[in-house]
């Protein structure tokens, strides 16, 4: 490559890096500031970095700035939100991945009458606006007294995420070599044994990717969580974050606390994104045709 071309490429890469990373940087930056310093402007040297904001998320810090009296409940809610979100996201991801794996296997590996209509149904439920599903759900859950119950949230999440996962896994199963499955049948596997002993291990990257998508969705989602766990002890992380957001409806918590809480909240997603990026690479860049040759 010519030096001029090379310089251009590196500049382009830096632009992409800055665009991607700058917001993360400023969030972290703000989380290390005192609120009074932040109000002077975020673009300033961090002359007095503090971890107090992080401690405050878990109700551990001293009250030297006098906020806890007012905001204690909200910040405690964030701490609980981590646990609640985990309690909701894990079962959601596990159940959704299991159901979607079955559906993806059936759709990806077999032809049957009415397959296209089924697929269209799947797709329709994927593009439905969440708000359209939420209204009837809220009314129903309200009628049976399940508002504030994590099970109702898990159920709604499953409705929203299973179609998508089934779609992803359908694509993945479709790329797996057919003859390996047939070989397993002749080697004495029943249909379910084929799925268990052969197809699942071979689809592991796709299934992991599906699990991550489901977990991220449940971890990040706001609207359902707000309506179905709002004001209850089961408040999940996203609505809890809105609770401490100075830009949210309450709008009075210090930005620095929100920044610290946000920073903590994105640790699991960021780790998963880094793993997921690997799987995306395996889903696409390693050509399935070469796997077929095995």
């Amino acid at each position: 490559m010519e030096p001029r071309q090379r310089r251009f490429v590196i500049i382009a890469a830096v632009v992409v890096a800055v665009w991607t990373m700058a917001p993360f940087f400023w969030l972290l930056w703000a989380s290390l500031m005192k609120n009074a310093d932040l109000n002077q402007g975020i673009v300033a040297w961090l002359h007095d970095p503090t971890l107090q904001n992080y401690a405050r998320v878990f109700g551990l810090a001293g009250d030297d700035e006098g906020y806890d009296a007012i905001f204690g409940a909200q910040t405690v809610a964030v701490g609980n939100g981590f646990i609640n979100s985990l309690v909701v996201a894990l079962p959601t991801a596990i159940i959704a991945t299991a159901v979607a794996t079955l559906a993806g296997y059936a759709f990806g590996r077999f032809d049957f009458r009415g397959k296209n209509s089924f697929l269209f149904g799947l797709l329709m439920s994927r593009v439905l606006p969440p708000i359209a599903i939420l209204i009837p759900y809220f009314t129903l859950f309200n009628a049976v007294g399940m508002i504030g119950n994590p099970i109702s949230l898990v159920i709604t999440y499953l409705t929203a995420i299973i179609p998508l996962l089934a779609w992803v896994l359908m694509g993945y199963f479709a790329t797996l070599p057919l003859e390996v499955e047939r070989a397993a049948r002749l080697d004495g596997c029943s249909r379910l044994q084929v799925l268990w002993h052969v197809m699942l291990p071979m689809a592991a990257p796709g299934i992991s990717a599906a699990f991550i998508i489901a977990f991220l969705f449940a971890w990040n989602e706001l609207l359902f969580a707000l309506v179905l766990t709002g004001g209850s002890e089961w408040l999940t992380l996203s609505p809890a974050l809105i609770g401490v957001s100075p830009i949210g409806p309450l709008g009075i918590t210090p930005m620095v606390v929100f920044a610290a809480a946000s920073t903590l909240s994105i640790i699991p997603p960021v780790i998963m994104a880094l793993i997921f990026q690997r799987y995306i690479t395996r889903l696409n860049i390693v050509d399935p045709v070469t796997i077929r040759g095995v």
């Binding site: 697929l119 606006p129 129903l140 992803v168 790329t175 609207l223």
Partner: protein, 308 residues
Amino acid sequence: MATKQRPYMSDARFALLIVAVVLAFHVIIIAMPLGYSFYLSLHETNIILRRSDYVGFDMWQEALDTPEVIQATLLSLEFAAISVVLSFALSLGIAVVLDLDFPLRGLLRALVLMPWAISEIVTAGMWTMVTDPGWGVFNGILVPLGIVPEGFVWLNENWALFWLSVAFVWHIAPLGAFFFLAALQSIPDALYRAARMDGAGPLARFWYVTVPHIRYAVLIVLVVMTVDAFRQFDLVYAYTAGGPGTVTELLPLQIYRFNFQFSQYGLASASSFILIIIATVLATAYFFLLSRRRRVEREVRQAAVITG
């Protein structure tokens, strides 16, 4: 010959059995609530009197007669248009860069996906740090340089929707980028070499080699981004909350307000069917594109991922 031996269960039947189980589950959790939503849209609820009266399609009529609903629908269309254009350009741009050769490319490829993985609330928080008129990054850099006046409000009436789109695009474009990247990487090098031998310059190579190979990727990204723009609630709620005034009050947020703040359940359900209709049209378009997928299985798989 007389006795017809019953063959064991065929593959198709086995598949259908699985699908039927999954679908039964699915119908219960999606179709029933939707039906109920339809029922609600035909009734007017009075929470004070705790009664609900059948009013036929009055609520639908009312939704269409309510200027706010029309305005929100138009805003949603505008938001989707801006977002789709921006995210398309951005994801293709990022993909082209990630496909080039430079130091630490592997690291950048890993990092680029991060904005997609985090929540809309944190996205909103980050962009607030950037655009806050008092202490934000933009004003922190641009005010001392004299480019904008002290306390310049980025989220003003004219530009709030735009900045909302920017935040949305920052969050959503990485997946589109990976989709394009996969499409770019699927193009055999030999084709570029052959084109070079045939005397094609960089632009001709892009047009005759690259574009045909990413055509399906382009179509699918467009539809998927549109779908996601129309569904968006979380980011709007967390970033602008519909403001200033109602200039960013998109349809999902407005339906939320109707239902959960103003208790106008019938109107909310009726309005939500506007969204459902838009979604149906998009899904049909999407499905039409995907049914040509035999040639482009790879893109489809990616398309499914991207909708996350």
